[in-house]
């Protein structure tokens, strides 16, 4: 492990328990993990191993039961909802398995959405940035389409563009290709990799798919809530 680059993620002793009836499910049982800036890394593991849980906690949309999680230098366990929301907006981009776009907005508007929330840029700047990203993910021709008028692959490209529009330091993707055929899935991974190179954005994605794995540069293996290989 080289120690030259900074760590964007530093996790130590992370556990996550879900109460389930009278018992508790120990979804994560003591995770120690560092991810370097600019990484393009994959989390793999069998179903139920805790991939989603780990990504959610890193993405600040779920909370840890115990342990320390630092994202881009912020210890996230002590932040309130407003601060955490701000952190998500400014430093993290999400790509969901189910695409999750805003149905009433067109492609360009969906990509612009996080920038508008930031209220940091002028309308023209926002438009320019969104158009650039739409081009980069190969949707330059479809900016006026609504999500319902797009294919699954196209939707996921919109999601990638939206995740990157704020120039986050970190993009998280939980099984981004699970709802796509393998060819389209491959294309999506290509786009992500390209972005990783161009924008120096850190990507962490989870997958079941051995096909997808070949795109990853680093791999973290999870099993029953513990890391078995890194």
């Amino acid at each position: 492990m080289k120690k030259t680059a900074k760590n964007i993620i530093e996790i130590s002793g992370l556990t996550k328990d879900y109460p389930l009836g009278n018992t508790t499910v120990n979804a994560l049982r003591g995770i120690d993990l560092n991810v370097q800036e600019g990484a393009f890394t994959s989390i793999i593991g069998p179903s139920g191993s805790g991939k989603t849980t780990l990504l959610n906690i890193i993405g600040c949309i779920d909370t840890a039961t115990r342990g320390s999680v630092k994202v881009a230098g912020h210890e996230i366990t002590g932040l309130n909802d407003k601060q955490i929301t701000d952190l998500r907006l400014h430093t993290i981009g999400f790509i969901f398995q189910t695409f999750n776009l805003i149905p009433v907005l067109d492609v360009l508007e969906n990509i612009e959405f996080p920038l508008l929330l930031m209220k940091k840029h002028s309308g023209a700047e926002i438009r320019q940035r969104a158009e650039k990203l739409a081009d980069l993910v190969g949707l330059g021709e479809h900016v006026k389409h609504r999500p319902a008028e797009l294919s699954g692959g196209q939707r996921q490209r919109v999601a990638i563009a939206r995740a990157l529009v704020t120039s986050p330091s970190l993009v998280l993707a939980d099984e981004p290709t699970a709802n796509l055929d393998s060819v389209t899935g491959g294309q999506i991974l290509e786009v992500m990799r390209q972005m990783n190179r161009l924008e120096k954005t850190t990507f962490i994605f989870s997958t079941h798919d051995a096909n997808v794995l070949k795109y990853a540069i680093g791999v973290t293996k999870l099993k029953d809530g513990v890391i078995t290989a890194n």
């Binding site: 805003i102 959405f113 939206r162």
Partner: protein, 509 residues
């Protein structure tokens, strides 16, 4: 904010059915409220105009002994107390700068007797006034349908059409002004059916109703059958007579006969002299005994047949004084000011507003307005329930979308505002449209110049012209109620939407 509105607006368009249902309810509610309020305000205004300008004036002065303020239409038979110190009150009123003019009047009930033994006596409501003064006080308030109005100083009675119809039903006598012939077109439905057997009469014998039975039955020559310009349902009960005859009939003693109010004891003694002494007892004896011969007129009536001009009529008894205020004087100010003066001068009278004096008529609009508000509120309550339900469902349906918004950095407030905006836009657009349409309708109706001669419809119009009115207070109340509905309806869905967590973006089975 622009973003929130954009998304909210497009969501409204996206869920057209839901939006339309909510919108329609809000539209109807606000339309109904605007038009309803307009009609009622018009009615209120019309009633005020017509009662104030046509019958009571702005303020009515009554005896302090009078138990209730309602002196216009009290069918319980409560008599109106006499006022015996008019000259004193006159001076006080003349000194008030806000008083424009005033008119003393006698007003009470009388029994209408008939020469038909089988008939029951009817009631006649009498208004005794100096007719010239009356016309100056209430110009153009009535016209003669048959016969004519009073000549100066003339004695007799002017019977409204409505009172004539009622009198016929009681006594089977059809009243026709002196020297006139029957006008078939003016016959009531009942009278028309009995046209062949109809008995005509050009005079009427009235027995004033008086607490100490000191009244006299007096024959009134009918000079005219009249119609008030408007609201005959209300005013049409009142026959107008000269104040002299009125006083005799009521046993108040005509000023021309005695010039002063006779002490109660003396009054009783004098009563014994009246020829129709027996008329004070029992129903049968109330009938004038000989149908052919004219009943003997009361001696006072003979004496007063030509009232000497130099007698001080104003020193006699009245029941009330109608007061008109100068423009811009508030009723409440005038009433409290007058009452202050009356108390300070021991005038033994009190002033009441036209609204209080007209009892049910005055409070009618308030009651109707209250019912409308209750009805619209009920409608809005239903609207709230439907809106809450629809929006909550919408929030739940959109959980992944809203969770995603939260996950990628939208604050709770953003999601809440989005939902509030959706409701606000709906009520603004649809409620606003309802209000606008209502306002247009309310403003258009007077231009159509819809009039009615129908008495009940006139009551609804507040006069002869249907003239709804959009008042600022009504507009404010409508808009407030609309905003309140929006807010209340949005609270729960907003809580639900605000409670959606970023984690909900990820659909887990």
């Amino acid at each position: 904010m622009q973003l929130i509105f954009k998304i909210a607006w497009r969501n409204i368009l996206r869920h057209k059915g839901k939006s339309l249902i909510i919108g329609l309810i809000l539209f109807l509610g606000s339309l109904l409220m605007t038009v309803g309020n307009g009609v009622i305000s018009g009615m209120d205004h019309g009633l005020e105009q017509n009662v104030v300008n046509g019958f009571l004036g702005d303020v009515v002065i009554i005896s302090e002994k009078q138990k209730t303020d309602n002196i216009l239409l009290d069918f319980t038979g409560t008599l109106i107390e006499p006022i015996t110190n008019y000259p004193q009150i006159k001076k006080l009123l003349q000194a008030e700068r806000f008083v424009s003019r005033f008119l003393p009047a006698g007003k009470n009930m009388s029994l209408a007797l008939s020469d038909d033994y089988n008939a029951t006596p009817g009631f006649a409501y009498l208004l005794g006034v100096d007719f010239a003064e009356y016309q100056a006080m209430f110009p153009d308030s009535l016209k003669a349908l048959e016969g004519r109005l009073f000549k100066p100083g003339e004695r007799g009675i002017l019977v409204p059409k409505k009172a004539r119809d009622e009198f016929y039903n009681f006594t089977n006598r059809w009243l026709i002004p002196e020297g006139c012939s029957l006008v078939e077109a003016n016959l009531s439905k009942d009278a028309k059916e009995n046209l062949k057997t109809i008995i005509k009469a050009d005079n009427i014998v009235l027995l004033g109703m008086n607490e100490n039975n000191s009244s006299t039955d007096l024959r009134f020559g009918i000079k005219g059958v009249i119609a008030y310009r408007t609201l005959n349902t209300i005013f049409g009960h009142f026959s107008i007579t000269d104040i002299e005859s009125y006083r005799e009939c009521l046993g108040y003693f005509s000023s021309s006969a005695h010039a002063i109010q006779v002490a109660k004891e003396d009054q009783k003694l004098l009563d014994l002299d009246t020829t129709n002494l027996d008329s004070l007892f029992g129903t049968e004896s109330l009938m004038v005994s000989n149908p052919q011969a004219k009943p003997t007129p009361a001696p006072a009536a003979i004496a007063a047949a030509k009232a000497p001009a130099d007698v001080d009529i104003e020193a006699g008894v009245y029941n009330m004084i109608f007061v008109k205020l100068k423009k811009g004087t508030s009723y409440n100010y005038a009433v409290s000011q007058l009452n202050k003066i009356f108390t300070a001068n021991q005038a033994k009278v009190r002033a009441v507003t036209w609204k209080k004096a007209s009892g049910f008529i005055g409070s009618m609009t308030t009651i109707i307005k209250g019912s409308l508000l209750a009805f619209v509120s009920l409608l809005f309550l239903v609207a709230i329930i439907i809106i809450v339900n629809t929006l909550t469902m919408a929030a739940l349906e959109r959980t992944p979308e809203l969770g995603m918004m939260r996950a990628i950095g939208a604050q709770k407030q953003f999601v809440r505002l989005m939902f509030l905006s959706e409701t606000a836009i709906l009520s603004l657009v649809f409620g606003g449209a309802g209000f606008l349409l209502g306002a247009i309708i309310v403003n258009l109706i007077p231009m159509l110049n819809i009039t009615s001669a129908n008495d009940m419809v006139q009551l609804l119009y507040g006069g002869d012209i249907f003239h709804p009115l959009l008042k600022w207070t009504d507009i404010v109340v409508t808009l407030l109620e609309l905003s309140l509905v929006t807010l209340i309806a949005a609270i729960y869905p907003i809580r639900v939407a605000g409670g959606i967590k970023p984690l909900d973006a990820i659909a887990r089975d």
